[in-house]
Symmetry: C2
Subunit: 516 residues, 2 copies
Amino acid sequence: MVEAVAGRRARSGGGAARRAERTGMRIEAARFITRGIPNLDILNEEALEIIEANAETVLEEIGVAFVENPRALKLWKEAGATVEGERVHIPRGLARKLCATAPAQFTQIARNPERNVEIGGKNLVLAPVYGPPFVRDNSGGRRYATMADFNNFVKLGYMSKWLHHSGGTVCEPTDIPVAKRHLDMLMAHMTLSDKPFMGSVTEPSRAEDSVAMTEILFKGVDGGLNGRCAMTSLININSPLTFDSVMMGALEAYAEAGQACIISPFIVGGAMAPVSVAGTLTQVLAEVMAGVAYSQLIRPGAPVIFGAFVTSIDMNSGAPTFGTPEASQVTYGAGQLARRMGLPFRSAGAFCGSKLPDAQAGYESANSLNMGLLSGVNFMLHACGWLEGGLVSSYEKFVMDADQLGILHRLAAAVPVDENGQGMDAIREVGPGGHYLGCAHTQANYQTAFWKSEVLDYKPFETWEEEGARDTAALASERVTRLLGAYEAPPLDAGIREELEAFIARRKEVLPDAMA
Amino acid sequence: MVEAVAGRRARSGGGAARRAERTGMRIEAARFITRGIPNLDILNEEALEIIEANAETVLEEIGVAFVENPRALKLWKEAGATVEGERVHIPRGLARKLCATAPAQFTQIARNPERNVEIGGKNLVLAPVYGPPFVRDNSGGRRYATMADFNNFVKLGYMSKWLHHSGGTVCEPTDIPVAKRHLDMLMAHMTLSDKPFMGSVTEPSRAEDSVAMTEILFKGVDGGLNGRCAMTSLININSPLTFDSVMMGALEAYAEAGQACIISPFIVGGAMAPVSVAGTLTQVLAEVMAGVAYSQLIRPGAPVIFGAFVTSIDMNSGAPTFGTPEASQVTYGAGQLARRMGLPFRSAGAFCGSKLPDAQAGYESANSLNMGLLSGVNFMLHACGWLEGGLVSSYEKFVMDADQLGILHRLAAAVPVDENGQGMDAIREVGPGGHYLGCAHTQANYQTAFWKSEVLDYKPFETWEEEGARDTAALASERVTRLLGAYEAPPLDAGIREELEAFIARRKEVLPDAMA
């Protein structure tokens, strides 16, 4: 079913309103979340100070490795670190001092200025799943992802009201040569959506391609790119304490171009970090401080995000586990540490280990999403579509999670206590034993009073049974078909499109064709 | 499958260890949760003061109805309220003043003293689903609940490590005459479990039967019942602002016997309360203050709980909806109001509207469970087994939810920052690029480091597929069979059992046989 839809050609511009009317679909885009509620701070001052002091000890005494990266070693030495081989020992306080030039909040622009996002402060920006080599849907099962799948997920992201960001590798298009696929992926984000997106990080030259294509795209936008941040890209640290030259090369390219990076330890607790929460937080903080400091050595003021990808491990099987309390504790703590550094914070997502979009997926993802909101996350990658520990992008789970993101928007808002919010007229009108459905206050407010799912089942049992007793995955599958069937590409200037196509053609001519 | 197991006779005492060994089941019982983390307070001081002032206005100006209850009207008049017909107008400040004699925390004793629970303060006691007329399991589908189902759910509760309480009407045994079923239900809690339980509230005389049976049961416990609290029972308010004579009759019986009541508005937002969060909180506070004040007029010092059962409504269909942000906002706010009154707080649960234990059930339940932990709930009814808006007790969801409750235990604990928690030795031992699985710190801590599900799937994809590609409901179904197959009743003195049986036989002789 999804396969059939994948073959449709996106039509650019116009007709969206008519199509929406015909199909009953309205394409809306919510503004990024700005919290009106506090964060949950689970660590007290003493715990935070211990962890911060220990992180400085780690940087000074143990140090971090910058692998195959003479430029980094040179810059660290000049900044005052002690370099032994590839090991960089950072004196107490130096990393934190270098981090101080990174902005606390920055704007990532989109080609549709209404989709610009503010990353940092009380804001929360939601982006879809990143990285899976497989996809799954109800009809086709689990299979290697293709470029057609990639395009479908970008379209679903564009049509998801509560998603603010188009993301990056929404799935890995395994049918395109490795050295060329970043070009097609960027083209999909640039043409099939008008939301902000991420650049390639798998090779420094691919980061440069990403910047070059973004410069072309923004020729169509007032002011052009002109050094403004239009990409937020994912730089993983090889935990523990190792910065490889590929990721650092991409970081260097982006920082120099004023593009944002998420500097993110990749932690499976018990494998890449200590089995204890405080120990993991110590390592995360040390790693992020070293990475962010390095970005500021490349270009002071370069926008960066304090990242923390955290899961725990099933100590029996070695499998990563998701939605677990220890991962939540690390995330809550990392949020506090990030805020004390004055840096935007990336963590959480609709994480789950389940193979199917079933109850396990629901529990684990909801645990992670709630924790993401309350831990003060500013940029949430993997906010929808993640399945099977990140091996699979799920069509059904994409729309199920994206629907749940509406809950985060409502929950983040301050409770109104103005006259309408107080509702005293309603209580007076109805009185003991009465019913509120028909009262004036209800009539005036009912359309916006409550968040409403566009996926979940609210029908009476008998109706639900007559309609086939469908579970959530079946309902979601239907929504996927409906969304992709109603998709209309946002308009794009034909000249810009041609220039992008020409750039891609030139690059593809010189890049190799290996598939792995 | 469950049906087959339901026919087994519980064997009392002994053999549990041998059975556990043979079946690979260990029956453990966790202590109730004592939070080491803060609550999330979403309302500021100004909002709280507005709501508190408005609640006093509601009590004074609109008043509350005590229906067909001359005793209540007399007591309220003597206390200083203005009574017009059945409407009680409570002068500003009077209800709150009367509430002051209610304890901030109390002990509910169990026949096994190790299962005593502390209700209030930083504690959280978890109890199973309450009230559904239907049950559902994977093999038998949805059907009216019977006494055999009731017994099964009590057994599952007894065997659930993270459940501290046996609950009350875990399902409605529709095969027993209405006027007699409370006797069999109590007998099940008293004999098939040794955890604390709830009493009957459907008739004042049934509350008296509950107290009488509890007095017999506690003859076998040091000190006897002797006025101590051994039941926490659910008294719903007929929102808006109405206290019916059946529920108040039960409340009176329990308060006089020193037994605890949850005084709980039953709110479907938009139907029984205003569509706004602050308006709903105003009504909830007014109702609880009136109800708690009345309990203290009956007997100053009677243990009570500030209850709030809250859902929102789908304004299109009128169906109640669960796991929604507005219900969460009301619950967070109600927790703050309860703490300001110095009363234990009951709310939340594994709420869902789904017809199946599917992804919807997972999302909605996890949303509610997380909110329940972080809103400071002290007594969580419906913490497992709730399905289809409370119409159905689900076997599979019971064990799925009960498993998730383990997460709340871990998440509620303060993060250790002692030397072992800091894990600096591990970071030193492993260093950049190393692996933590084999290090000394991991070896010393791995068995207790991470919470581990006993239901969810952590297997590699290939293994999972070979084993039948089972979803969560199928895995849970298997666990239900295993648990019920391994069940052993906790030992009970034969004399006590006979006395309970004799009491029930006497009462059944005089009670009517109507089935509805």
